[in-house]
């Protein structure tokens, strides 16, 4: 099964035609080139910018996201979260995100789950910082690739969405995401994820998390617009992305990433 992508695509194409016959419209098997994709919607491609140096770990973004998007407030899942990294003099990296930082970080203790709360002395700390996370709206979203029924997809303006009326709840997309941004919605019982607040950004507003952040640690913009402040930062400054080794082409860019960030 060591096909490369083209081989597999070819193989899938022939299998599909052979066995399924007319069950899939011929157009379904067309693979668009990147050029065609740009032509499809040349004016908008949403990207996210996180400035980790500005984040104070207040968690207002998480709270706002949950309330804005109807994710049950006390359920232990969330579309966005904030991680805390504390590096100590003994070379250890300790990190946590209690309740996804819905209530912020109000204690110095690190929540190590089953291992309990870990005390760290102030003087032992080498460096410590916060990293907000959300869906990267990858240009090559592995979650979409593995959906068996076409219930999740990428829009022309670059946002990955889930069709709640069509998702069968197999969980393959949750397994396929290297960033752990997907989960089962406790009420809808389908896969759920950050939508970049699609209902807001398509009406000229910013996402709830961006608006709720008092410190400007988060911003959303259109990479196709040269005058967009977010696009300018991404084009002209040093930014990183998470886990680029997976070839997912994440569209959330980070200022001030550190090697310890997972």
């Amino acid at each position: 099964m060591g096909f490369d992508v083209m081989d597999r695509r070819e193989f899938i194409r022939s299998t599909a035609i052979f066995i399924a016959g007319a069950s899939v419209p011929a157009a379904a098997l067309e693979v668009m080139s990147a050029k065609e994709l740009f032509a499809a919607r040349p004016d908008i491609h949403w990207v996210f910018l996180v400035d980790t140096t500005k984040c104070v770990g207040c968690g207002f973004c998480v709270k706002a996201c949950k309330l804005e998007n109807g994710i049950p407030y006390d359920a232990n899942v969330t579309r966005t979260w904030v991680e805390r990294y504390v590096l100590t003099k003994d070379g250890k990296v300790r990190a946590d995100t209690p309740k996804g930082a819905r209530d912020g970080f109000i204690t110095k203790q690190i929540d190590e789950n089953a291992e309990g709360m870990k005390d760290i002395k102030d003087e032992d700390i080498d460096k410590a910082f916060f990293v907000p996370k959300l869906c990267n709206q990858c240009d090559n979203p592995p979650c979409v690739q593995v959906c068996p029924v076409g219930a999740t997809y990428k829009t022309a303006d670059g946002v990955v969405l889930v069709d709640r009326t069509w998702c069968i709840g197999c969980g393959y997309c949750i397994m396929g995401c290297p960033y752990g941004v997907r989960f089962f919605h406790p009420v809808e019982h389908v896969a759920d994820k950050c939508t970049f607040c699609y209902h807001r950004i398509t009406k000229g507003r910013k996402t709830a998390c961006v608006e709720a952040c008092p410190f400007g640690a988060r911003d959303i913009g259109n990479i196709k617009d040269p005058n967009d402040p977010v696009a300018k930062v991404i084009m002209t400054q040093r930014v990183g992305v998470l886990k680029d080794e997976y070839g997912t082409k994440p569209q959330a860019f980070y200022i001030g990433l550190s090697k310890e960030v997972r």
Partner: protein
């Protein structure tokens, strides 16, 4: 094709035809390959509109609040808290003042601790915020008893401030 060996094949073809027929009724008309190609764009087009139609809870428009509460906006404008959107503490405005007529204000100590619990993290923005040790500084007391979050320096009473670390 008089030969009987083809009969199972006919049954299989019949089943396949049934599935294809069922497909015509079951699959919505706008389901198909859209902008991003088969790998990333195979979906029901109408779902994009479903998501666009989601109702926003938060307004996050400063003018929307200051329109009716100019005094509060004025009071807050000189405070470091001016950077905090009203709805972070007052909750999502939704259709306020019609629905809901009153917003639940989060006056809890935990709300203040989100920023003001002191954490010795020099590499984060947290280090720029005045903080207290929640275990030492009047534990169990609501901060708003002494501190007015709208006030210019958020200090109402002349308590000695804990020294900045």
């Amino acid at each position: 094709m008089k030969n009987h060996v083809w009969r199972p094949l006919f049954v299989v073809l019949g089943v396949a035809a049934l599935i294809l027929a069922a497909r015509m009724f079951y699959v919505p008309k706008d389901f198909g390959v859209h902008d991003q190609g088969y790998m990333y764009g195979f979906h029901r087009l109408g779902n994009e509109q479903d998501w666009k139609d989601q109702k926003p809870e938060y307004r996050f428009e400063p003018e929307y609040c200051s329109g009716c509460h100019p005094d509060k906006a004025e009071e807050l404008s000189t405070s470091p808290h001016a950077i905090i959107p009203c709805e972070d503490c007052h909750g999502p405005a939704k259709g306020h003042p019609e629905d809901p007529p009153k917003l639940p204000i989060d006056r809890s100590r935990e709300q203040c601790m989100r920023c003001h619990a002191y954490l010795p993290y020099a590499q984060s923005g947290r280090s720029n915020i005045r903080g207290i040790d929640p275990a030492e500084h009047n534990p169990g007391t609501e901060c708003v008893i002494c501190h007015d979050p709208h006030h210019s320096n958020a200090v109402e009473t002349p308590h000695p401030q804990p020294p900045l670390p």
